[in-house]
Symmetry: C2
Subunit: 298 residues, 2 copies
């Protein structure tokens, strides 16, 4: 997906919010924000929003002198998610179809997205978890297709999104049908509140599940920026599950079947793929709608 | 009031929305947006948000080749306001205190602010008018002070804000106590959806009321950019009434008693003066709270 002009004010806001978390000096924040504005003025909008995010969050990290500006937010999200993990695990176990129920909780966790809003807000997670009962999954048939693929698989690549959401991914992994080797892919370096290896570990992921860093500090999965090891997994694993918007934006035209599990949280993505903000989606690249060409958002 | 860093993403959004209304070519819009980003990167944040707005909307006008990018929005707002004018006039006439009631309707009209949101939305006006019944005026005692001043006045300067709102200002002017010469000040040239002389005329203002252009194309009232004639009126008129946020931002420390009538629509202004978004306010420069120093918005 290309970057839309409507992404620009959003990136400026996002950068400022990240700076506010880590730079207390106003003059220094202004200088850093000016660098972001200059960088945005030079951005090639044919590239995807995660590519722009990568550039902008590199500026934030450099200017704040902080390698992981969202470290506290990530810790907080994981702690909040762990508090409710046992209850979610129970609810999944007691449901008629634990696999399907665990998918919904994993999508519920996708609300922990600080690209959209930087404020800490437990209510957003609770509301999202409560919505599991009533939420309709768009392209629901993809759940059965995924079940079928998993039952035949020997290897599964699970591409993570945000820290905290990882706790619910762990519960989903416990409820996946079939027997295979699982690789859980995280970011190679911190960007926004995306999960890194230490966030995955803090969320209880490890042991039989192999945590793999993708070698990149971009949001989403920009294959050309990922490590050779990750690209090999992406080519060779039998089933790929990818969480969240940025993975959808960067992989939905990557040319192989990928099961995307996400909430639509951004009107630009919604508009361009015919979804609405708030939609819960399970889809494959093939069933996912194509980006509309030349569709300015008004 | 100085420009806060939180104003930056808002100005970028505002500029983009204005371009979307007037530039259909995507590449041209991108080029124009890049000019806005570069300009924002150079802005002196010690200056007020209306000064930044002036620079940015000059770029929008130049790049769109359109002298009045909000012309259609303004016509629409005035037409919508005129549709309900008779009903508002009746409600004011039947109320216990028509002067006070007309102040509330004039503040209700202040919702027609396309600096905050560019989408046309009749419901916002209707909701705001309906809120007159329940709305509490902060610093309510200023209404009695204004009544007192008007009863002794020989000249009144009424500083307008948005087109459409002007229709309700007209009704307020009909219900002001006392007898005096009234000057109704509008912008010297179009900026955002602020009222110009032709908008005032289309709203039924004229005749006994002298419409005066302030000589500037900045939002609010930046005195140093206004005409000598306007500055003379500002110095010499017995009573000054100023509508809306931008006039509050630019005149609340101008050193003379001014009655501000406005809705708080922006969290930055709210936070810096101790108000909340949605507050309806009648205040004088003296009773208005001072801008907090060094108060970064988090």
């Amino acid at each position: 997906m290309r970057t839309y002009l409507e992404c620009m004010p959003c990136f400026i806001r996002q950068a400022l919010e990240a700076m506010r978390e880590n730079i207390s000096d106003e003059a220094k924040t202004l200088e850093a924000l000016k660098k972001v504005l200059l960088s945005a003025a030079k951005f090639d909008t044919r590239k995807s929003p995660p590519e722009m995010g990568r550039i902008i969050h590199r500026i934030v990290r450099r200017e704040s002198g902080c390698d992981d500006p969202y470290a506290n937010i990530k810790k907080h999200s994981i702690a909040e998610a762990l508090k409710v993990a046992d209850r979610v695990r129970d609810a999944v176990k007691k449901s008629k179809d634990p696999f399907r129920e665990a998918i919904k909780y994993s999508i519920a966790g996708n609300i922990l997205d600080y690209a959209i809003i930087s404020k800490r807000d437990e209510y957003r997670l609770w509301d999202s978890l409560r919505a599991v009962e009533s939420a309709t999954l768009l392209h629901d048939s993809a759940v059965e297709k995924l079940r079928e693929r998993l039952n035949k698989a020997e290897s599964v690549l699970f591409i993570a999104d945000n820290a905290g959401e990882t706790v619910f991914d762990r519960i989903l992994i416990e409820n996946l049908p079939g027997t295979y080797k699982i690789f859980y892919a995280v970011k190679g370096a911190p960007v926004i509140n995306d999960a890194t290896a230490s966030d995955a570990e803090a969320s209880g992921i490890g042991g039989e599940i192999m945590v793999v860093a993708n070698g990149s500090d971009a949001p989403g999965t920009i294959l050309k920026l990922c490590s050779r090891e990750f690209k090999k997994l992406f080519r060779e694993c039998d089933v790929i599950i990818a969480k969240g918007q940025a993975n959808f934006e960067t992989l939905n035209e990557a040319g192989r079947e990928t099961f995307f599990l996400l909430q639509i949280k951004c009107p630009v993505i919604g508009k361009n793929y015919g979804y609405r903000v708030g939609d819960w989606i399970v889809t494959t690249a093939q069933s996912g709608k194509k980006e509309k060409k030349n569709s300015g958002i008004k």
